[in-house]
């Protein structure tokens, strides 16, 4: 009974899809859409949705804007996907979980809707830098619109204390900081930050089909470094008296105290850093660190901010058009103008004003060494603990066996099956 019903339903829907979609005429009904964005972007989102209504005068919209921070979007959305907004922004590390929960529309399925605005999915892919499109795709299908490419980290420093040579390597950086009686801060207790050392040495993380994480940090990287060596280097940095390990999220606080002459952070701290360093405000790529007698460039995580369409959105078509609108070239320009957000749109990235922005330029410089972090949910807690162990110096840098064991335990935890 049920099966036949389903077959009929499927047949009808297919017939409807095959039917020529030409000339989607404006309908009488008002399309209700909700949009979630970060607290600080609310005003801008309001402007953009107003413009959106102007761009489609034939269709009436009722657009509600809600607050949901990009970093925690996943938590709220996965609790009840059906109640979540039609269009929402989120940080790129949540992509896989959201896709698995069906919370993101496969844009290849609805891409056609963009024709209403005279655009296509290919335009989206061409407009934005390749890395961002790749990060927004799973198995070759695009799942979200890239909006910002500034969700990564680099080095802020006070150029009145440190020279450009000083900030080239951790050794010289820490030495100069110690001489100046200041400190260098970085968050170790977070899998998002501390992975940078491993990525730099050629290690990788990846996602398997079943949602588990693949990680090789307890072995030897293709570049010929061992995980133990990387941890030893981190331990040496952490043991330096000029180094300050900062809790996740506490960097801007510590920056504000004026004790740090340099710190690893992202564009969200640009204003604080500017205020503290004044004329000395400068930013650059991350320094190199020492393994044995070699210098290894510290890697980083290339994080993006995406705008996605809820997989359970009723008005998926218009939601897609709106999401595209919010991430279009003009909108990204507005985001840059008003929020100093680093764009993913190729044209804006190449513009002079973006290049002149110190923080975004540093991020671009670092992007040569950054990679997209593909990890599952089981990665974060063990990786955070590894960072904390190193930050507190709980393992000795000389005890290679203990370090190896620590890394083995880490890998065991990270690769555990998802449940």
């Amino acid at each position: 009974m049920k099966v036949t019903k389903k077959v009929i339903a499927a047949a009808i829907t297919t017939a409807m899809v095959i039917a020529p979609a030409a000339g989607v005429q404006a309908e009488e009904e008002t399309i209700s859409l909700t949009v979630w964005g970060a607290e600080e972007d609310q005003t801008l989102l309001k402007e953009l949705t107003d413009k959106f209504q102007e761009a489609f005068p034939d269709q009436k919209f009722d657009i509600q804007i809600g607050v949901e921070s990009e970093s925690t979007a996943k938590d709220t959305i996965l609790t009840d996907v059906e109640a979540a907004a039609d269009v929402y922004s989120f940080a790129s590390d949540q992509l896989t979980d959201l896709v698995n929960a069906g919370a993101l529309m496969n844009l290849e399925e609805v891409g056609e809707a963009l024709s209403v605005a005279g655009r296509s999915l290919d335009d989206v892919k061409n407009d934005n830098v390749e890395a961002s499109v790749e990060a927004a795709s799973v198995d070759g299908s695009l799942y979200a619109f890239p909006r910002a490419g500034d969700n990564g980290y680099f080095l802020y420093y006070d150029s009145s204390v440190l020279t450009e040579e000083d900030v080239a390597s951790w050794d010289s950086l820490l030495a100069a900081a110690e001489k100046a009686g200041k400190k260098v801060g970085m968050t170790f207790a977070s899998g998002w930050y501390n992975a940078s050392f491993f990525y730099g040495a050629g290690f990788t993380t990846g996602l398997n089909e079943d949602g588990t994480t693949a990680i090789d940090w307890n072995g030897t990287s293709p570049d010929g470094y061992t995980g133990v060596q990387v941890v030893q280097s981190m331990l040496n940095i952490a043991a330096n008296p000029a180094f300050m390990a900062i809790a996740d999220g506490d960097i801007s606080n510590q920056l504000a105290t004026g004790e740090l002459c340099a710190c690893v952070s992202g564009t969200w701290d640009a204003i604080t850093a500017q205020g503290v360093y004044g004329d000395g405000y400068a930013a650059t790529k991350l320094p190199t660190y020492t393994i044995g007698d070699e210098q290894v460039q510290q890697g980083s995580v290339a994080g993006y901010k995406f705008v996605g369409v809820n997989g359970f959105s009723e008005n998926a078509g218009w939601a897609t058009v709106l999401a595209d609108f919010i991430t279009s070239e003009e909108s990204q320009q507005e985001f840059f103008n008003q929020r100093e957000s680093g764009p993913t749109n190729k044209n804006i990235i190449d513009s002079e004003e973006v290049k002149a922005n110190i923080a975004i330029a540093a991020l671009a410089e670092q992007s040569a060494y950054s990679s997209v972090q593909m990890v599952g949910g089981k990665y974060w807690d063990p990786a955070q603990t590894l960072g904390e162990l190193i930050a507190q110096g709980s393992v000795s840098a000389d005890d290679e066996a203990a370090i190896q064991e620590t890394l083995d335990t880490l890998v065991e935890g990270v690769t555990a099956p998802v449940e």
Binding site: K5, K6, A9, T13, M16, V17, A21, V24, E27, I31, D75, L78, T79, V81, N100, A101, G102, A103, M105, E109, V110, E112, V116, D210, G211, M244, I246, A247, D248, G249, D250, N253, Q254, T257, G311, F312, S313, E314, A316, G317, W318, G377, D381, P382, Q384, T385, G387, L389, Q392, G393, S394, T406, T409, L410, E412, G413, A416, P417, V418, E419
Partner: protein, 486 residues
């Protein structure tokens, strides 16, 4: 003594079953001895009342029966048949370019099936009882009619709800509220522990199903999914019990001492002092605790002061601290002690209020005669005040202990996002040394959507609480003391 207590417990259970047995016996008698209309009431609930000319009641019962049937057909039947599988139809959708909308198939949502089936069961159970009572009641009416007694009118029936049935009037709404908002959710939670509801099986996108006792197997390390879950569980459980013990005892004793101090004859302006302490209760916990947490954070103000006065350096010299700050809330040991201390700060004023009230009611004649006999202050306290306090507040102590086992606020607000475990085995199970069972399972559901494990842990927490409460209540409340003051 022990024997007697076990006796009362047994008696209570016995009494409970006696009530049920009596109910069924009444029903059986009503069905077998009732006249045609009583028997017809089995099918048409209004029949018996109709016969006795209680037309309004007959109509109400008929409406109730119709409502139950409509509920069954329209609501329950779309969920209950799927209860065995928890749904089989996977969500599928097609985008329709013409309407710009997604079109979904008629997919199953395991969670809704579970919830609404449960809801239906509870409604059916309630209806079953009403139905049986109805027959019993109609049979009573028949007997009244046979004896030629006056059959109450509808108004007289209604009046009974102000008189001997007043408890029904009082209890209906509260019990309904508890049933919907506490009872059904808890039943649901118990059922979830026997399913595979987790991140890979999250409705509405995918379905989950029954898995039997698998989750309990992996919780206790019986070759389950994660190697360390059992390890983490034991440690979290241990700290939960230690915490609950110290949190209860310290605030209890602290509250008594503070109230003794404040109520002493030597105290000047006791009202003012008491008010000052009460202010700390009045600040909402999420404000005061989040504040205190920032106060004691690694880069916080207390650390700044400690390092300025050289305390941090001193502690590092004697080897208590290995970091450049004092890890008040970020290292095991330190954090455990700090959490209990901060809880004293939060809890003592409250206990002080209770103790103040109890001390005011101290039997003054005993105190007077003791004083006349020349007992010292300390003796009076030890021999009279303390036993009285313990007697009076003992049961509350047990309730507090259970509350502390489930004390979410203090631990969550003080440690979430601040405390990083350095124990890798704990981290691999998403646990921390400072977690209580409740905060652990809260994280499992909020961050990892591991509802099945959280439910399994929830059941274990419940069993622990239940065992403890039963033992403690039996020891502390000697029999039923309700009559003492009446």
């Amino acid at each position: 003594m022990e024997k007697k207590e076990r006796g009362t417990a047994l008696l209570a259970v016995k009494g409970f079953f006696a009530v049920i047995a009596g109910f069924f016996a009444d029903f059986g008698r009503a069905v077998s001895e009732g006249d045609a209309f009583v028997k017809l009431s089995l099918l048409w609930m209004g029949a018996g009342y109709f016969k006795r000319k209680q037309y309004i009641k007959a109509l109400l019962m008929t409406i109730l029966e119709a409502a139950a049937i409509i509920f069954t057909v329209k609501f329950a039947m779309s969920y209950v048949p799927k209860f065995g599988t928890l749904g089989t139809v996977q969500m599928e959708k097609v985008f329709n370019m013409k309407t710009m909308k997604s079109e979904f198939n008629d997919y199953d949502n395991s969670f809704t099936i579970l919830l609404f089936s449960l809801f239906s069961f509870v409604v059916w159970f309630a209806f079953l009882i009403v139905w049986m009572r109805n027959v019993i009641h109609v049979y009573e009416l028949q007997k009244m009619a046979e004896k030629g007694k006056h059959i109450p009118t509808f108004l007289e029936d209604l009046r009974a709800y102000k008189e001997e049935k007043f408890h029904i009037t009082l209890l209906t709404l509260p019990v309904l509220g508890i049933a919907i908002f506490t009872f059904i959710p808890i039943l649901l939670l118990i059922l979830v522990a026997f399913t595979n509801y987790d991140q890979n099986h999250m409705p509405p996108n995918s379905l989950f199903t029954w898995v039997g006792f698998d989750n309990f197997m992996s919780l206790f390390g019986g070759g389950g999914l994660t190697v360390t879950f059992g390890y983490a569980f034991i440690r979290v459980l241990g700290w939960t019990l230690v915490w609950a013990f110290f949190a209860t005892i310290t605030t209890y004793i602290g509250g008594i001492l503070l109230s003794l101090l404040l109520n002493s004859k030597n105290t000047r302006m006791p009202k003012l002092w008491r008010t000052l302490f009460i202010v700390t209760i009045a600040v909402p916990q999420f404000v005061s605790l989040l504040l205190v947490r920032n106060f004691f954070s690694n880069g916080g103000i207390v650390n700044t002061i400690c390092s300025n006065i050289g305390l941090t350096g001193f502690l590092r010299d004697i080897g208590l601290v290995s970091t450049s700050y004092i890890p008040f809330l970020s290292a095991p040991g330190w954090a455990h002690v700090m959490i209990i201390l901060i809880n004293i700060w939060i809890g003592v004023p409250y206990q002080m209020l209770i103790a103040t009230g109890v001390l005011m009611n101290l039997p003054s004649d005993q105190l007077e005669s003791a004083r006349v006999d020349g007992a010292s202050k300390f003796q009076i306290f030890r021999k009279i005040t303390m036993p009285y306090l313990l007697f009076v507040t003992g049961p509350a102590l047990v309730t507090d202990f259970v509350k502390n086992i489930n004390n979410f606020n203090v631990i969550y607000l003080l440690t979430e996002n601040v405390y990083t475990t350095t124990n890798q085995a704990m981290a691999n199970s998403q646990a921390k040394e400072v977690d209580l069972l409740v905060t652990w399972l809260f994280r499992l559901t909020q961050d990892y959507y591991n509802y099945k494990m959280a439910s399994a842990i929830g059941i274990v927490v419940f069993v622990i609480c239940a065992v403890f409460t039963l033992i403690a209540f039996n020891r502390m409340i000697k029999g039923d003391r309700e009559g003492t003051y009446q």
